[in-house]
Structure formats: C-alpha cells, structure tokens
C-alpha cells in the first residue's frame, strides 16, 4: 500500500515520447479530439459504430507509443466510480421489455436493455476520458494553450477574454501534478501518525479525506498567491499587448491526420446508423 498516487493519476501528464502524433500542430490534435468526442456522443448503440471508434483507439495507441499499461492505470479510478453508476443504470432502467427481463423487484430490474444501455454508457465515458487524457499525453500544455487561443481568437470580438481563460485552464492543469504530490504528502503525514487511509467504512474514509482538505486548500491558496505575484512581476497583464514566441505551422502530416480522424468519426456515426 505504498503511497504513490502520482503513479496512478495520469490525467494532465505530458509524456515526452516524440512520436509522429506529438509532432502534429496542436490545432490538429484539438480538432481531431473534438471530432472523436463528437462522434462518441452521436454514435448510436451499434457494434459497427463502436468498432470504428475502437479502431481509432488502436491507431492512436500504435502511433503515439504511449504504453497501454500507463493508460489503463490512469483509468482505474474512473472504472471504480463508473461501476457504481453502471449498477444503478442497470437496476433502474425504465420500462424494460418484459421479454428480456431476468429479474424484477418493484422498480428495480435486470434486463437485456438495461445491461446494454449500461455497457454503452460505460464505453462512452471511457472513450471520452481516453480522448482527453491522450490529448494531454501527446501535447505540451503550452502548445495546447496556443492552439486553443488561436482557434478561439474570433471570440475576442465578442469581448470574451480568450487569453485569460486559456491561461486559467493551463495553470489549473499545470497544478494537477503538484496538487497530487501535495495530497501524497498529506496522506503520508496522516499515515505516519497511524491513519490507514485505505481502510474503514464510507463515513470513516470521508472523515479522513476531510482531514487533509483544510491543509490542502491552505497550501494551494498560498501557492496561487505566490504564482500571481510572480506572474505580475513578469509583467503579465492578460492578453493585452502580448505576443507569442512560437509559430503554429500546419503541415502535410496535419492534413493527413485530420482526414483520418474525420473519416473515422464520420465513419463511426454513419455506420452506427446504417447497422444498428
């Protein structure tokens, strides 16, 4: 029961693996992931549709060189929460067809429809998590920020503070690993004083989590204050008058990647409607 959360919390981590996907323009990656997310929402309950999306997963895994074990490790936490939701979804599935119902007690039932819907929901959530976490595995934070800022630039005319919003998102993500390290330190401090954090009932566990929340927030606020001061000292005043060092370039590889992503996502949606 080693205290090493950073090993299991992979969300927001960038993996410097220098694959062809890593080298793509961030805008390509953002648009590609947006397409796949859209397809994940729109795809109907159909084996063919999800098969195409899984093909996309396989392709990304192959080209990006991200170890599968690392991806799965990051999903452990998600899985355990999702399983609870899955159980509820199945049990409370409304009006299942009586033919496919195995067991029934009041409003609770287990049915083929319920199981199917539960599984589809689970797969959708896992896919959505996979797209977003993979985007961060393969894109440095600043690239992501630049890409988002350029893409949402037109919104400036509607007085949306694009640069500021992107900066907030970037800093929030940058602090995820630091926050995880902080939680690790606090849980260790608790454990060193005899607290077993992976034992006890739900209330007992909630109490233990509560125990670290106050120091966690106090430390996070202190950090945020120093960061604000440091950014101020480096003349950050929002997007006003700010220029960029990096130039985003759209290459042939980007076009290729976009076409593949577009084909896969459109293919998934269309196939799911053709072969339900």
């Amino acid at each position: 029961m080693a205290v090493e959360f950073s090993r299991n919390i992979t969300f927001g981590q960038y993996l410097d693996l220098r694959s062809p996907i890593h080298r793509l323009d961030p805008r390509t990656k953002i648009v590609g992931v947006a397409l796949l997310m859209l397809a994940t929402f729109l795809v109907r309950t159909s084996f063919a549709g999800f098969a195409v999306l899984l093909l996309a997963v396989a392709l990304i895994q192959l080209v990006s060189r991200i170890p599968l074990g690392y991806v799965l490790r990051g999903m452990r936490l998600l899985f355990s929460t999702m399983l609870i939701i899955f159980v509820f979804q199945v049990l409370f599935y409304p009006n299942p067809s009586p033919a496919g119902t195995f067991w029934r007690w009041g409003i609770i039932s287990i049915s083929t429809d319920g199981l199917l819907q539960g599984v589809v929901f689970l797969v959708r959530v896992v896919l959505l998590y996979y797209w977003t976490s993979t985007l961060m595995f393969v894109t440095p934070l600043m690239d992501l920020a630049d890409g988002l800022e350029v893409m949402f630039d037109p919104l400036k005319y509607l007085r949306v503070p694009v640069n500021e919003l992107v900066m907030v998102a970037v800093i929030a993500l940058k602090f995820v690993p630091l926050l995880v390290a902080e939680i690790e330190r606090l849980v260790k401090a608790q454990a060193a004083r005899g607290e077993r954090f992976n034992q006890g009932g739900l209330i007992e566990r909630a109490r233990k989590v509560g125990g670290i929340l106050i120091p966690l927030f106090v430390n996070a606020f202190n950090r945020a204050e120093v960061l604000t001061t440091a950014m101020n000292a480096r003349c950050y005043r929002g997007g006003r008058g700010r220029t960029k060092r990096r130039l985003l370039r759209f290459n042939r590889a980007d076009a290729l990647a976009l076409i593949i992503m577009l084909l896969l996502s459109v293919g998934a949606v269309v196939l799911s409607r053709l072969f339900p």
Partner: protein, 600 residues
C-alpha cells in the same frame, strides 16, 4: 540608480489591525552593484523587495528607477527593469517546458517573435541551460528550476535583479553556485543584484550589506564594516561568519591578523605571511591527516538492531515511462537509543529510505525488519511499527492536520482512544518538552504560529505517539538562524533522552549531524560511506565528491591546509578548530626554534 526614499509600508493599512512592516527605509543601489539584504523573518526584507519591484505600493515614500518614478502609470516599466525571483521555483514557473517559461516575460512585453527568440536563447545560455532548452520543467532538479526562474527574469533584460531568499531551501553547494552566478551576471550583463538571505557567509563577496531589523535599516556598509560590528549583529540574533569569529579569537590570542577576516582564503594568506616572517611552516613535513583508507566499522551495540534494512531496492513510478530508480541495494541498521545521521546530496535516496523505516512504504518480504519482525510479511503489524516510529517530514508545518495546537498534538492519543485525562497528560508533557507552554498554546490556531513554532508542534505531534524512534527529515531547513538555533537545542535534548533512537536526515554535516553517534552517507541510491562522523570527516575529499558539505570548521581547516599542512579536518566546532589551530601554530613555532641550530 535604484533609489528608494523614506519608504514605509503597512499591511492592512488604514484598518484597525494594520501591521507596520517598514518604517522610513531609504536605500540606493547603483547599476551593477551587488547588495545583500540580511535580517530575520519579519525584519521587513521581503516587503522591501516587493516594494522595489513595484509589486506592492508603498504607503509612504517614493521609488525612482533610473529616472523613472514608480507611479501607477509606470508600474510595468519598473517591473521590467527590476526583476524578482522568489524562494520556491515550483510556485513561480508558469509553463511546462524550459523555453516556454523563459519566453513568458518577453511575450508579456509584446516583443516581436524574432526578438523573443534571441532573448530567450541568450538568457538560457547565460545560465548554462542550453542543453535543457526543450526539457520538461517537472523533470528538472530544484537547482535547475531555480536557474530557469532566473533566466525567465533575465530575458526581460532588467537592470536590477532581486533574489528573495533563494538559498533558504537549497543545498549549500547550490547556494554557492547561485552566489557565483550573481557575480557572473554582474560581470557579463552589468546587472545589479539584490540578494536577500539569512546566511552571512554567502555575502562576504558582496559590495554592500544592508542589515534590517524590525522594519528598519539597522546598518549598512561593506561586509568588512558590517562584520566588524559583531556585537550589534548578535544583539539582533545574527552572527558574522564562523571564520570571522575565528579570526577574532586568534587575534585575542596574539596572532597577528587583520581586524576582520572574511574568508578562509584571507585567513590562510594572513597566516602564510606571518609564517614567512617567522620562518614558520616552511619546509615542515607534518603527517597528512591520518589518511587511513578504510574506515573502521563503528562497533554496533551488542544487540539486535531496532530497524534493520537488508539489500533494499526501490523504483518510483515503476512500470511507467517516468520510472526512476531511488534505492539500489541499501543495507543499514538503527539500534536502540542511538542517534543516526543519514546524509547525502539531492536524489541520494535519503527521504525514500526513511519511508521504509516506518512502513509508509511496504517492502517485499525479507528486506526491512522492525524489532525483529519482517515488515514485508503479509501479516505484519504495520500499525505497531508506525506508532513506534515517529516521523517528522520536510517542512512539517504544511502537514499539520488540525486547526489548533492541542487538537493536532493529541491526534494520535485520541486515535488510540486513550482516556481524556491520560491524553491530556501526554499533550502537556510533549508540548513542554518542545518548549511550548501547554496553557498558552493549547487553543492557539496553527496558522497563526511562526514557522519555528509550527515545527515544534509537528515534533510534539510525533512525540505524542510515544515512539521508540523519531525520524526528522531536514528539520531546520528553511528557518532563519534564530529558529535554527532554537530547534537545534530542542533536538539535542531529544537525542539525549534514554531509549529514544533519533534519525537525522540532512544534506550537510551541520550542527545537527554532529549530534549523531554514527552517520550514513548516501549517494545515488546507495550507502557510500558509514561510520562515526569524526572518522568520516578525515576523508574530506571523498565527502565533497559525494555532494556533501563538511562542517564549517572542517571546511576552514581544509582550506588552511595549504599553509598549515597536516591540520586535522575532523573538527566539529569552533572551539575545536581554534584549539587545533593554536596547537598547530605552537608546534610550528617550536619546530622552527628546533630547526634553527641545524640551519646555521
């Protein structure tokens, strides 16, 4: 010229709970000048720095930078000209790669792309970060991160650079590099550097020293002038460097020395000149240290060790692309009642090792034993181990779990469900032991305590579990000299307590390591050397090579060996150093007199 006239500042100005942090401070810094600002926590030095960098506005007085008045309209120009680097690099780096972070400032200035590129590359080159240009910041060491932070400010081409206590949290070797860097930046970029610190020995090479106390400038002058006023410095809890003290003592014994000795180099030169005059120290072949290659194993008490680590390996993030080896075949033991120092530079594996001592990390079977019991065994009683081994982590003040002192210290007794009276007695006893009065501090809010007091509470919390082993991980790091001294006294008393084993983890042979009966020196995940500290100190060069600082007296002795060959380096205090020097000088004289007849 950075010119501050009659600055004053109050936090919460205008309200009833206003705290006056600065009173009427005037300070001028010329372009290219190296100025050190020293003083205790709460002396106002960080407040002054923030005012000079236009991060806060003074409530009284005026600041003028190279002819530009610090008015709200000019605030950005002042901030560009006066750059500031903060204590912890993790809190001030914005981007996640080196090059992006360094570009952040120039981007904010709205410079053209080509100009940003040149400035960023120049700044990286100036700090020797060229090879790390595209590196991930999360993969850098603390010292590298600090350099990135400085490069980020340098890329804005400031005329003045303020370093706000950058050396408080880093190893002494890194601190020395940083001071060298300040000189370098002045020489190459014409930069003026204002270095804020607690540590006197860092600033002997500076042009000027400003001593602050209670929000006022107590004195300023060259280091020589300031350190000559040793008594005034001591009165505000500061002390001149050890070598200056030594010079003083030797002068009092009649050794001809300048009034203020600033470095061991100066002392060596003065002693060499003296030797030449008296024809002492020339041609005398004194035995070179002891020079024995093997360190005798310190004899462990004839008993079973309390903690026994055998051939332990450990890797962080095992099975991920970020895997990092931390321990390689470590074996060591801790005996009942002894004090053990675990020393080593960064990444040596010290902090990882001690987490195995109290079962925070559970090893595979057969590698770590507590009181004869295998911690890796499936049915091991880990609760008993954790209760028997108290642990105070680095910067424990950020890990206190409750809101009041009494509640935090009674955490373990309450968990054990002891009767209230018994729990209360324990809290009372341990608070007294760490020097905090029970009645006064029981209901105090932790956030309102000083840094040193918070550490005491953390130690009291560990003691309240009535442990057999107490582990302290760099317990005095980041405190000012007064806080360090107070905590060192407390720890000294703990090491004397019968039946309590104390483990002190550190990166230098300092006043704490000296309390240890035995020391382990770790390097790159292995135990490199082991033995009593005094024996280890004879191998000064090896310790240096392992990234470890010697005790200050030993460092001075090592530096004096050039003129006084054979001066021992296994010295732990100023008294011992003084004694060794006096003996050595006296034998030198006698030797010279004995030599005389043979010469003529």
């Amino acid at each position: 010229m950075l010119d501050a006239q009659n600055l004053s500042f109050a936090y919460n100005a205008g309200s009833a709970d206003a705290i006056q942090a600065l009173h009427d401070v005037s300070l001028q810094v010329a372009p290219g000048e190296l100025v050190a600002i020293i003083g205790h926590n709460g002396s106002g030095k960080s407040t002054l720095a923030k005012l000079l960098a236009a991060i806060m506005e003074p409530t009284g007085g005026a600041i003028n930078v190279d002819g530009i008045a610090a008015t709200p309209a000019n605030v950005w120009e002042i901030r560009r000209r006066v750059g500031m680097v903060f204590q912890r690099p993790d809190d001030q780096l914005v981007a996640n790669t080196v090059i992006d972070d360094v570009a952040f400032g120039p981007e904010n200035l709205g410079l053209p792309r080509a100009e940003i590129e040149t400035r960023v590359l120049d700044a990286l080159a100036a700090l020797g970060l060229g090879a790390l240009t595209n590196a991930q910041i999360s993969e850098l060491s603390g010292g590298e991160k600090q350099r990135v932070a400085i490069a980020g400010v340098l890329a804005m081409q400031p005329a003045y650079l303020i370093l706000d206590e950058p050396t408080t949290m880093i190893a002494p070797a890194l601190a020395r590099d940083l001071i060298a860097l300040a000189h370098d930046l002045r020489a190459r970029n014409g930069l003026a550097v204002l270095h804020i610190t607690h540590f006197m020995h860092e600033i002997v090479s500076f042009d000027r020293v400003v001593v602050m106390d209670g929000g006022r400038v107590l004195m300023q002058g060259t280091p020589r002038e300031v350190f000559a006023r040793a008594d005034e410095l001591r009165a505000v809890g500061l002390a001149p460097p050890l070598v200056t003290d030594l010079g003083h003592r030797l002068r009092a014994r009649g050794v001809a020395l300048p009034a203020v000795v600033l470095t061991s180099g100066e002392l060596a030169a003065a002693l060499a000149a003296r030797a030449e005059q008296q024809e002492v120290g020339n041609g005398i072949e004194a035995p070179e240290g002891t020079g024995s290659p093997a360190i005798p194993e310190s004899l462990p008490p004839n008993s079973q060790p309390l903690v026994d680590v055998r051939d332990l390996d450990f890797t962080y993030m095992a099975g991920t692309p970020l895997a990092q080896e931390a321990l390689r075949g470590v074996s060591c033991a801790l005996y009942e009642g002894e004090t053990l120092a675990i020393l080593g530079g960064t990444q040596a594996g010290k902090s990882t090792l001690i987490e195995f001592f109290n079962a925070l990390r559970v090893p595979p079977l057969g590698h770590v034993f507590f009181d004869g019991q295998d911690i890796g065994a499936p049915k091991a009683d880990l609760d008993r181990v954790r209760q028997s081994v108290g642990m105070v982590f680095q910067q424990p003040e950020s890990q206190l779990l409750e809101d009041t002192v009494g509640k935090d210290v009674s955490f373990v007794p309450r968990r054990k469900k002891l009767p209230p009276a018994e729990s209360r007695a324990i809290v009372q006893r341990v608070l007294t032991e760490v020097g905090l009065d029970y009645e006064t501090f029981r209901l105090r809010y932790i956030y309102a305590l000083s840094g040193g007091q918070k550490r005491r509470v953390a130690i009291a919390g560990a003691l309240a579990a009535e442990p057999r082993v107490l582990i302290l991980d760099e317990p005095v790091a980041g405190l000012d000299p007064r806080g360090r001294a107070e905590l060192a006294t407390l720890i000294t008393n703990l090491t004397r307590r019968a039946g309590l084993s104390v483990v002190l983890v550190g990166n230098a042979i300092d006043e704490l390591a000296e309390l240890a009966d035995r020391a382990l020196v770790m390097h790159a995940g292995r135990v490199a050397l082991e033995g009593p500290l005094r024996t280890l100190l004879q191998r000064a060069d090896e310790l240096h090579a392992l990234g470890l600082e010697l005790s200050e007296p030993a460092e001075i002795a090592l530096a004096l060996r050039g003129v006084l060959p054979g001066l021992p380096t296994n010295l732990l205090s100023l008294d011992e150093l003084e004694q060794a020097l006096v003996t050595r000088l006296a034998t030198g004289n006698r030797q010279a007199t004995l030599d005389e007849p043979q010469r003529h």
